[in-house]
């Protein structure tokens, strides 16, 4: 596709560096079509999963049970079991919602934007991060619904011909959220499934057991690998990618408007949409790295997911992390520059108030530690990279905590100030949602090809595509 993609003279198999000092090869060794099919396809077709899969799945499943317990108790007793009250009416539920929806952004960024930009290195991780996106949206979408006093009438927020003449309030960003997140989930699901179809056919054809043949056969929708199939598939895939691209920017912008449309100091800020989007991609890539490093190790995918992938992802994290740091700086600057005493007090309180230690922890884990990614040695050292990614995951959660809770707990009138303390049910719901996420992820690894087989075969056939700077 791109003429300069090819860099002649580079030996396909050897670990060489590009002029900019990056590893150039997407494959560690000489890959063949059959090798690709076998490496990826065998994971879902084998009878026994490796021991780490079982350990991980059992832990995730237990956390999922914690979530069910927390939700059941919530439905019985109401949102009073959480630490929320006036003035902090938006507690962990909204922190977790924004955190998860942010994590959900890497998938579409990798799938759609990198696809349209011909970044072929995305192939090894796109399927995985798309699945992650879907599961993260599922976790995210749960929280605002649980945060409703009566979750069972959540459908009141949808415009439908009801008996109450209660049309949704379309001037409220909370209604925009429903549409933004709903659209995002639908498009992500279609995109993910469309990409899966040829791979499901590959798995179907390699399957030995009857139930596998039927299961993957039904899901493959009769894919016969014909040229006509491929032509339509590619058109549909590109169209969906083009549709999904604006969503990467719009969804988290809409989420940020939940805050910036409000009048509250600490929320009422125009920097929010771009800074939230950057933060979303930042946390999304951090989560991809956190999950891919152990999975690559367990399933021995070193040949397909190479250090170059980690290097590129670390670069994206470094850039978006700097944008996020700039956002923190501008927030502080604007509150001083505005001359508004409430805004200035909000910033002082955020840094030196009762939740000040969380702010400083945020600065450490989300701004200072990620600067290690400037070093190429850190970017290619998987242990170091894993730790940095974990630190960013924590940092992005803390960021939402700082924005939501420290802004709410002290507003204009000192008589209405208060404190927020999470309860055990707040923690149970947070860790339970991580359990839901991981359970779905483990099931995905077990039952669906986690790397795009057909796209990887394409790179094997046209290795020059894999040789970009």
């Amino acid at each position: 596709m791109n003429a300069h993609d090819a860099s002649p003279g580079t030996d396909h198999g050897s670990p060489t560096l590009s002029p900019l000092g990056y590893p150039t090869n997407l494959f560690a060794g000489k890959e063949t079509f059959e090798g690709v099919n076998e490496t990826i396809g065998s994971v879902v077709l084998r009878d026994r999963q490796p021991r780490p899969w079982w350990i991980g799945f059992i832990i995730a499943f237990m956390l999922l049970m914690v979530l069910f317990l927390a939700i059941s108790w919530l439905l019985i007793r109401g949102v009073g079991i959480w630490g929320i009250n006036i003035p902090v009416a938006w507690g962990y539920a909204i922190v977790n919602f924004v955190w998860w929806i942010g994590i959900a952004h890497a998938g579409t960024f990798i799938s759609a934007i990198l696809l349209l930009m011909f970044q072929h290195w995305r192939t090894a991780i796109n399927r995985f991060s798309e699945a992650m996106t879907l599961f993260a949206i599922a976790c995210a979408g749960m929280f605002p619904l649980l945060h409703l006093g009566r979750p069972w009438v959540f459908y009141w927020i949808l415009p439908y011909p009801d008996t109450m003449k209660m049309w949704p309030q379309f001037r409220s960003p909370l209604v925009w959220d429903v549409f933004a997140v709903g659209t995002y989930f639908t498009v992500s699901l279609l995109f993910w499934y469309l990409g899966l179809v040829p791979d499901l056919a590959t798995v179907r054809d390699r399957a030995r057991k009857k139930w596998q043949k039927i299961f993957y056969g039904v899901l493959a929708l009769g894919w016969r690998n014909s040229a006509a199939h491929w032509q339509r598939h590619q058109i549909a895939y590109l169209l969906l990618a083009a549709l999904a691209t604006p969503l990467v920017l719009s969804v988290h912008s809409v989420v940020s408007l939940d805050f910036s449309v409000a009048q509250l100091p600490g929320w009422h800020s125009t920097i929010f949409p771009p800074y939230f989007v950057a933060g979303a991609i930042y946390s999304g890539f951090a989560m991809v790295i956190t999950i891919v490093i152990p999975v690559r190790k367990i399933y021995r995918l070193e040949n397909l997911i190479t250090l170059r992938h980690f290097n590129n992802m670390a670069n994206v994290m470094l850039v978006t992390g700097l944008i996020v740091a700039y956002g923190y700086f501008i927030e502080a600057f604007m509150s001083w520059y505005s001359g508004d005493i409430f805004d200035q007090y909000m910033m002082t309180n955020r840094v030196l108030g009762p939740y000040g230690w969380i702010f400083w922890l945020l600065m450490l884990v989300n701004v200072v530690i990620p600067q290690a990614l400037w070093s190429a040695r850190v970017r290619r050292n998987l242990v170091a990279l894993f730790l940095v990614a974990l630190s960013i995951n924590l940092g992005m959660w803390l960021e939402r905590f700082v924005i939501i809770i420290t802004s709410l707990h002290r507003d204009f009138v000192p008589s209405s100030w208060g404190m927020f303390f999470p309860t055990i049910w707040d923690w149970a719901t947070l860790f339970g949602s991580i359990g839901l996420f991981l359970t779905l992820l483990f099931l995905f690894i077990r039952f669906l090809p986690m790397i795009a087989i057909s796209e990887t075969r394409e790179l094997v056939a046209e290795p020059q595509k894999a040789m970009t700077l």
Binding site: P161, D162, T163, M164, K165, M166, K210, K213, I214, G217, L221, G222
Partner: protein, 219 residues
């Protein structure tokens, strides 16, 4: 290698996909139908009562005013249900020993009120006041229909919030002169539009939209 799927598989796939669409749309339509049908709304469904009281007989044939029995309709939130003594004003003299009225006589003798089955029962989270509606020129028949033609009473309106708001969003359509409120057969005049605009002004009905506030009814 034997084929797993027969030639019919394509048909099955198409039927499944289109069937799912039809099924989902059909489920939506059916839900809507059920919610608007008498099965849910009880519109037009006569309720059994301890005594088969006929509004048709008492209002249309005897000409008794609504307020003879529903005494507090102009003064209170609750229109008021007649005491057994009220029934006995007449029925101690006429039909005084028919078996049909035995529950009324027993109620009087034992001093325990009759337990009527409510035809119009609003949920407890709705604040509704008869007196203000009567005072602002909303007639009985606007909500309760032609009670004078009902042998046994039934609902003519759903009491859904949507129905309440039809009038609260545009009271001009339903208002009538105060002296016509208890007239069962009242019909809007031909110059209703200009006349009703005048009435809305005269009765100080708030058209600023405040009648549509949540807290107007959910207090």
């Amino acid at each position: 290698m034997a084929q797993i799927f027969s030639r019919n598989a394509n048909v099955h796939a198409r039927v499944t996909i289109f069937g799912a669409v039809v099924l989902i749309c059909g489920a939506g339509w059916a839900t809507n139908e059920i919610f608007w049908s008498p099965y849910t709304t009880y519109v037009g469904v006569p309720l059994n009562q301890p005594v088969p009281f006929s509004h048709k007989h008492h209002v249309a044939e005897d000409g008794i005013d609504c307020r003879y029995c529903h005494t507090s309709v102009e003064k209170s939130r609750f229109a008021g249900m007649p005491t057994s003594e009220t029934c006995m004003h007449c029925h101690s003299q006429i039909f005084s020993d028919v078996p049909l009225l035995a529950p009324v006589r027993e109620s009087l003798a034992t001093n325990t009120p009759l337990k009527w089955n409510r035809v119009h029962d609003l949920p407890d989270y709705v604040y509704f006041d008869h007196s203000v509606h009567v005072a602002k020129g909303i007639g009985c028949s606007t909500c309760h229909g032609r009670v004078d033609q009902m042998p046994i009473t039934w609902r003519v309106n759903t009491l859904y919030m949507k129905w309440c708001l039809e009038c609260h969003s545009d009271p001009q359509k339903f208002v009538r002169p105060r002296d016509q409120v208890f007239d069962m057969a009242w019909q809007p005049p031909s110059n209703q539009k200009t006349e009703n605009a005048r009435l809305v002004g005269q009765y100080h009905i708030d058209t600023s939209g405040r009648l549509m506030n949540c807290s107007t009814c959910h207090r």
